[in-house]
Each structure stands twice: as C-alpha cells, then as structure tokens.
C-alpha cells in the first residue's frame, strides 16, 4: 500500500486516531465472536496496543509539543480535530494503563461472575467504554466529546447492570438517568457556546470566547457545562449514583470504572473550564475556585465519614472514591499551579490505588463471593497475597510515604500552604480526612488479620491471573511513590499548560 514504504513515519503520524480506532474496531469484532476466551484475548490485545499508543503519544507530545490530527483531512474548525497536548496525553496514559491491567484481570473474573454466552458482548461493551473514555480525552471538538461521552456511558450502564445482585440493575438505571441528565446539560452548554461563537472546535473556541465573555449566555453555558460534568464526575452532592454503581457492578467493571471514568470527567472539567474558557475567566469572572472549594471540602469530609460506617467493603471504597474526587477538585480550587499539579497527579495516583484496591476485592469476590466486612474475617491468613495487596493499596489511600497516595497529599498540602493564611485550615482538613481514611481502611485490615475465620470450608488464594494484574498495580503504587519525579514533572507541565490556556 501507499504508506508501506515509509512505514514507521506514517504510523506515528496516525497515532492519535489509532488511539481510539483500535479499541473501537475491536469492539464489534468481539461482539460477533462465539467464544468468550477469543473475545477476551482480542480485548487484551487491543488494550495493550492502546497503552503502547498512549505512551508513544505522550513521548511525542513531550518531545514536540501539541499534536494535531485532522480527521478526514479537513482543516479545523471545518472538520473534527484530535488535539493532544501534555494534559490529555497524560490522561490517556492513565486510562490506557488501567485498561491494560484490568483487561487481562477480567478474563478469569468475568468467567466467574458473568454467564458465558454474554462474555463476548461483555468485552464489546468494555472496549466501547474504553474507547469512549479515550475519545473524550483526545478530541479537540466539543460535540465529539458528547458523542464519545455517550459511547462510554451507554456501555458503562450495561456493564454495571451485569453485577450479580439485582440492585446492580437499579444502580445502573439511576446512573443512566443521572448520566443522561448530565449529558443533556452538557449538550445545552455546548449549544449555548456554539450560538455565541459559531464554532465547536476547542482551540478555536478558546480564541473566540474572550470576545463574548460578558454575555449572560456564555455564563449560563458555563453553568450548564459545570453541572453536567459534575454529575458525571460525581462531585458531591451530585454523587448519588456512584456508590451503588460501584458496589454492585462486576469486579473488573468496578476496578475499571473507578479508576478511569471519574478521572476523565475531571479532565473534561479542566479542559472546558481552564483551556476553553480560560483560567482567567474561570477564576476571576466565574469564581470557580470559590464555588468548588466548599463543595470539595464537604465531599471529602462527609464522604470519608460515611465510608467509615459501611459494612460492604466495595461500597466503602465507593464512598471513599467520592471523597477522593473531592481532593482532585480541591486541588483545582486552589487556582494555582501547585494545586493543579496535585489534581493531575491525583488523577493518576488515585487510579493506581483504587484500581489495586478494587482488584484485590475482586479476588476476594472470586473466592468467597462476598465483600461484607464480616465475611473477610481471617482472610489475611487464607488469602495472604490478596490481602497484602489490599493493605498496600489501603496505605496508599491513607497517604503513607513511599506510596503514591503520599505524593498526592504532599502536593495538595503544599498547594494549600503556599496560599498561606486561612488555607492552613484546608491543609489540616486534608490531613484529618487522611486519618479518617486510615480508620476505614484499618477496619478492613483488622477484620482480615486480627479476627479469626469463622466458617469451615477452606479458601485458597486467588488464581494467578487475578493476582498478577493486581500486583502490577500494587507495584506501581510503590514505584511511583518512591520515584515520583517523572509523574510529578508531567503533572506540573500539564498544570502550567492548563493555567496558560490553549489560546496563549
């Protein structure tokens, strides 16, 4: 073929689109496969190539700046543009890494939790969800965001509904309603922006919007986009769909969603509000920081508190997720480079820790079928590797040094202290909630290690195909906790880009 002669050169130029096309084309193929295993391995292959592409893209962006890809050869804003800067390259790597780890993990887990004839469809939905999230992240077109948002959401509803308890159905339904409302709000917001500027291209909008900043329409658009995205990212008090959705979904789905979906929503928030509207508009005109700060604080405190009293460990971690989202938003509300660095770092770090934790719980479900805290008594002896993974993940969640959680906390507190004055109280609150995290994590650890197993049937350790991916994430928790220079460097660069905005 034409491109064959200059093979590598061509492929690198096509990386942005391949990032999404590869999993998206794998999905329909999965759907028509007969054997679950075949679909599973196709999905694994796709998810690994996605990670390779994401890493290559990050390399490209770090070496040569923004990569713009014109789909259909139409020059933006006429056509749709894929636009990769360090911010979304970073988020792509996060999503892709989790995908690459969770997919092989799901092979055994899914066979255990889902009826065999649905497995090919499961992988189709899973890949659709993955490519939807990647598409939201990579695109430079507002409406394209909506389209891919719906791809990921629809498949997510289906994936969640596959959980065994019937409450998975109502959780999925609730998520569908709230998610659709969120998406519709986003569509309204996009429409209002479009009517004022005539453009849907993000970079283009960033240039056009300053001309119409004063209009009420733009401000209302801002509000609608904000509410819509916050519904998707489950920011308190719009989080009601999340706990049950995470608690009752199949294990790999929970691990995947918890580590990626809300991260991408946070990315949307950052991209829309800081790049497109511009940091200046967001912080000076719309007082975004002052709106988000109290919400974030309430989220962190109240949800940590609620988590302490949960008996279902999956739900406990789900509430913890809402609290952790609060940390991310808190970093944003500092309106500073350090604060944003904390947010962007925590996107990655939280993905690692929650991924590891939910995957460890998946191992527990695989063996004992329950994650009730009483059912986990004595598990430390019976499933030592699984519970060790949980402990490390838990320590990371608490923010113990040498884990990624600590790095996030460090930057968050540093960001608060840099602002000085009353912000010290915010730093204190972050630390106090870390102690709350210690309490809820420790309840589980105590049950597993210091209580005796009451049942009689012996339980073995989870199979290697579940443990290995789990431990990959656990190792990542430790590795990036010990060597965070690179991750923090990327996060900081991304934060600087966001604060500067696309236009400048």
């Amino acid at each position: 073929m034409a491109g064959a002669g200059e093979g590598t050169g061509r492929v690198t130029a096509q990386l942005p689109i391949l990032q999404v096309v590869v999993p998206l084309l794998a999905a329909p193929i999965c759907a028509v496969l007969r054997h679950g295993r075949a679909a599973a391995w196709l999905a694994v292959l796709a998810s690994w190539s996605v990670l390779a592409i994401a890493l290559a893209l990050l390399g490209q962006v770090m070496a040569g700046g923004v990569v713009s890809y014109h789909i259909g050869d139409w020059v933006p804003p006429i056509g749709i543009e894929y636009r990769v800067d360090i911010v979304n390259a970073w988020v792509l790597v996060i999503v892709a890494s989790i995908g690459a780890v969770v997919t092989p993990y799901s092979v055994a887990s899914v066979e255990h939790e889902i009826a065999s004839r649905r497995i090919p469809l499961f992988y189709a939905a899973y890949l659709l969800c993955l490519s939807g999230l990647l598409g939201i992240t990579i695109t430079g077109d507002m409406f394209n965001v909506f389209v891919f948002l719906e791809i990921s959401s629809l498949s997510a509803y289906a994936l969640i509904s596959l959980g065994r308890p019937r409450r998975a159905l109502t959780a999925a339904y609730r998520y569908l309603i709230m998610g659709s409302v969120g998406a519709t709000f986003i569509v309204i917001g996009i429409g209002l922006l479009y009517v004022m500027t005539g453009s849907l291209n993000m970079a283009d909008l960033a240039g056009l919007l300053p001309g119409v900043w004063d209009s009420r329409t733009v401000k209302v658009a801002y509000g609608f986009l904000g509410v819509g995205i916050c519904l998707k990212l489950a920011l308190f008090p719009l989080h009601l769909w999340l706990p049950n959705a995470y608690a009752f979904a199949p294990s790999p789905v929970t691990a995947f969603m918890a580590s990626t979906a809300t991260k991408v929503a946070v990315y949307m928030l950052l991209r829309f509000f800081l790049s497109i509207f511009g940091a200046a508009f967001s912080f000076d005109v719309m007082a975004l920081d002052r709106v988000l700060l109290p919400l974030a604080l309430v989220a962190v405190v109240s949800m940590s508190l609620v988590a302490i009293f949960q008996v279902d460990v999956k739900r406990l971690l789900a509430y913890s997720s809402v609290a952790q989202i609060g940390y991310m938003i808190l970093g944003l509300s500092f309106a500073s480079i350090t604060g944003l660095t904390a947010t962007l770092l925590h996107l990655f770090n939280h993905a690692l820790m929650k991924g590891a934790l939910f995957m460890a719980l998946g191992c527990v479900v695989y063996r004992i079928g329950s994650v009730h805290i009483d059912a986990m008594a004595g598990l430390g002896k019976r499933m030592p590797w699984t519970m060790a993974a949980f402990v490390v993940g838990g320590l990371s969640l608490v923010g113990v040094p040498l884990t990624v959680g600590f790095i996030s906390k460090w930057y968050l507190i540093l960001g608060a202290l840099e602002k000085g004055g009353p912000w010290i109280a915010v730093a204190v609150l972050v630390l106090v909630t870390s102690v709350m995290a210690l309490v809820y994590v420790w309840r589980v650890v105590e049950a597993a290690y210091l209580r005796e197993f009451s049942g009689d049937e012996p339980t073995g350790e989870a199979p290697l195909s579940l443990l290995a991916p789990t431990w990959v994430l656990v190792a990542a928790n430790l590795y990036f906790g010990i060597d965070a220079v690179r991750t923090a460097g990327v996060a900081r660069q991304a934060a600087e880009v966001l604060m500067a905005g696309i236009g400048s």
Binding site: M1, A2, G3, Q14, I17, L25, A27, Y69, G72, D73
Partner: protein
C-alpha cells in the same frame, strides 16, 4: 384488547408509507433529506410493524436474530474500515479524497460507503433491539 386493535389497524395503515419512505430516503440521501440512518430506522420500523401484525416468528424466519446482530457489528466495521483504508492509502482517517483520483469522486464513494455502514448498523441494531423486546415476553410464557 382495544389497544391491540389500534396497533393492528395503525400498523396496516402505516406500513406501506413507511417502506415507501425508507426507499425514498435511502436513495435520495445525497440530493434530498435523508440518508443511511433514516433509512435504517424506517426499514426497521416497517419490519417491526410487520412483526406486530404477522407475528415475531414469521419475521424472524426471514431475518434471523444472529443476522441482525451481525449487521449491527458489520456496519460499524464498514464505516471504520473506510477510515482504515484511507489511512492505508496515505491519507488521514476518513479522508475520502484518497478513494479516487478526483477528490470529488473520492468523496462520493466515501459517503456512499459510510452511509451503507450506517444503514447496516442502524438496521441491525434496531431490529435486534426490537427482537429482544418483542421476544422476551414470549420466550417463557
């Protein structure tokens, strides 16, 4: 039971219109309103109403569920495949100019192909979904 009658009568009246609509929409997409999507939906609507009137089993004999499921997936692959082909031809994804010497012809071919993809998927999806809804009540009663 009154509702049943309404449905039957409504279906009978609507069916010819719908099929006419579908054909028109499908073949005139470039020149007048319509295209693969509308055609796919309308076509399915026709089948759906037929199924309501003549029974699901009769329709499924002509149009088995595995086939509609295949269609649903196939359309996506056709559409995406066009993009892959243009990429292999050295253009960007969905750069139809690559498909012929004259870019305009390339665009025509491209649009034709992707509209076909849309039609196939939409038809396959709508029919599959309809089968599932319509078939569910029956399977065990």
């Amino acid at each position: 039971m009154r509702e049943e009658i309404i449905v039957r009568v409504g279906a009978k009246i609507l069916t010819p219109f719908i099929i006419m609509f579908a054909l028109y929409v499908h073949f005139h997409g470039d020149y007048s309103p319509g295209g693969g999507f509308q055609a796919g939906v309308i076509l399915t609507a026709a089948f759906a109403l037929l199924a309501l009137v003549y029974g699901l089993a009769a329709v499924q004999r002509v149009l088995p569920p595995w086939f509609t499921r295949l269609c649903a997936a196939l359309g996506v692959v056709i559409y995406g495949g066009v993009g892959v082909v243009t990429m292999l031809l050295g253009h960007n994804y969905l750069g139809y100019d690559a498909l012929a010497q004259d870019p305009k012809y390339g665009q025509h071919y491209g649009i034709l192909l992707v509209e076909l993809g849309v039609l196939v998927t939409v038809f396959g999806v709508m029919a599959s979904v309809f089968y599932l809804f319509a078939g569910r009540g029956r399977s065990e009663s």
